[in-house]
Amino acid sequence: MFSNRYIFIYASVMVIVVAAILSSAATYLKPFQEKNVRTEKIMDILKSVNIKAEKAEADVMYNKYIVEELALNTDGEATSIYKDQSFEKGDIRPFDIKLKSEIKKKELLDAGKDAEQPNFPLYICNKDGETYYIIPLRGKGLWGPIWGNIALKQDMRTVYGVTFGHKGETPGLGAEIATTEFQKQFIGKTIFDDNYKFTSVKVVKGGIGTMPVDQQIHGVDAVSGGTITSDAVSKMIADCLKNYEDYIKKQIK
């Protein structure tokens, strides 16, 4: 039989050894994992403007098509401009901004609490001579975070393409937002009406047939059985795009 003393020492030593092994493995593998996450982000951004990038060439394609990165404050002014691999203004690379924490800051400010000024990233893409504006999205789905990118055409109100991703929406229902069939619906919809009043693009339960005809350009069909996720997508698009409203209005004038 083993004494209590032995059991305690055995357990302690085991835990320390295991902790050491795991933390050194995590430290060693971290750069590889971060690179994967980064590459995925690039591929997502490019996918919203219909550019299919292979993993290996993601960086090259990104530098080729994304000509400018901006960080915008809530007044629609650029606090950071990153162009041709160098800073024209500011020192935060918009690509490295974590949207999640910026949205949190915005929420705190809106609630009247103390927080730093948020900066929202905007990517400007040049493809075949056309300019597209790519806005990253992030929100809360039914089971976890949902995210995506929305690309606007030069008029800054017509949607050119979208991508959505999710952490764990219900397969077959809410998870359908990640399919091309769902995302295709957004193409050609507008986020402003003719007078540049912000309308966003709504995901409509029951289909856009239930909307007034002149509003249908601002809506897409929801996923059947995925009402909460669909509503979450609506809210995510509206909340995130609202932060860019001032900037867009300034650009249009």
Binding site: M1, F2, Y6, I7, Y10, A11, M14, V15, V18, I21, L22, A25, A26, L29, F32, Q33, N36, V37, T39, E40, G168, G172
Partner: protein, 219 residues
């Protein structure tokens, strides 16, 4: 290893061969012992994730078996289950981290199921039943054998589910290249859903028992 030399037992003695080959058929962890069913249902919609899952289970099971077998005389009986769990859990975290670093796409597909290898009954079962009482080499073979037994069932199920559910084999569009869609053939969406995995496993069990009558329990 020195103990083995003393006994002069060849590395692949008939006894050791049994350790590898028995779990493939007569002692198969899935079809006969009915362990690890949960992951067999979850990751078999496509062959690639099924393969990575089998490989991960093999690494974890073989390594855990060897480590437990090496430590078997030092592990206090009263906390042996906890010791086994800690070892399995750390190995699983290692596998998960490695996948995230070098096979990111697959790790995203497997998502939570890699973590759930920890709760795969096959692993705890083998540690408790075999590694705690055997030398490292047989324990290693036992681990590989059982993981192979688990893996081949997973791959077979995944083969049929992917072929009929998505019309592909290992992401290669077989049905499309055969031109079957032109004749009005449609993929069966039901094959992708978990219940179909249960039915496919059931068919495999049925075939196996109809060929090996000894497996059929008496009423």
């Amino acid at each position: 290893m020195s103990e083995e030399v003393k006994q002069r037992e060849p590395l692949f003695s008939p006894k050791n061969k049994k350790l590898i080959f028995n779990p493939l058929s007569r002692e198969n962890p899935i079809t006969v012992q009915v362990l690890g069913i949960c992951s067999a249902l979850a990751v078999t919609a496509k062959m690639e994730p099924a393969f990575v899952m089998s490989l991960s289970v093999m690494v974890v099971l073989a390594a855990a078996n060897v480590i437990i077998s090496l430590l078997r005389n030092t592990i206090p009986t009263r906390i042996r289950i906890i010791v086994q769990l800690v070892i399995i859990a750390s190995l699983v975290i290692l596998v998960d981290q490695v996948l995230k670093a070098f096979a990111y796409d697959v790790s995203k597909q497997l998502s939570v199921f890699v973590g759930l290898i920890i709760t795969n009954c096959i692993i705890m079962g083998r540690l408790e039943a075999f590694a705690m009482g055997n030398k490292p080499w047989p324990a290693f073979l036992d681990g590989i054998g059982n993981a192979l037994g688990y893996g081949w069932i997973l791959m077979t199920v995944a083969f049929f589910r992917e072929l009929f559910g998505s019309g592909t084999i290992w992401n290669y569009p077989v049905m499309e290249n055969l031109g079957l869609y032109d004749f009005g053939y449609k993929n069966n969406g039901f094959m992708i859903l978990p219940p179909m995995a249960l039915i496919v496993v059931g068919i495999i069990i049925w075939i196996q028992r109809s060929r090996d009558k000894e497996l059929v329990e008496e009423k």
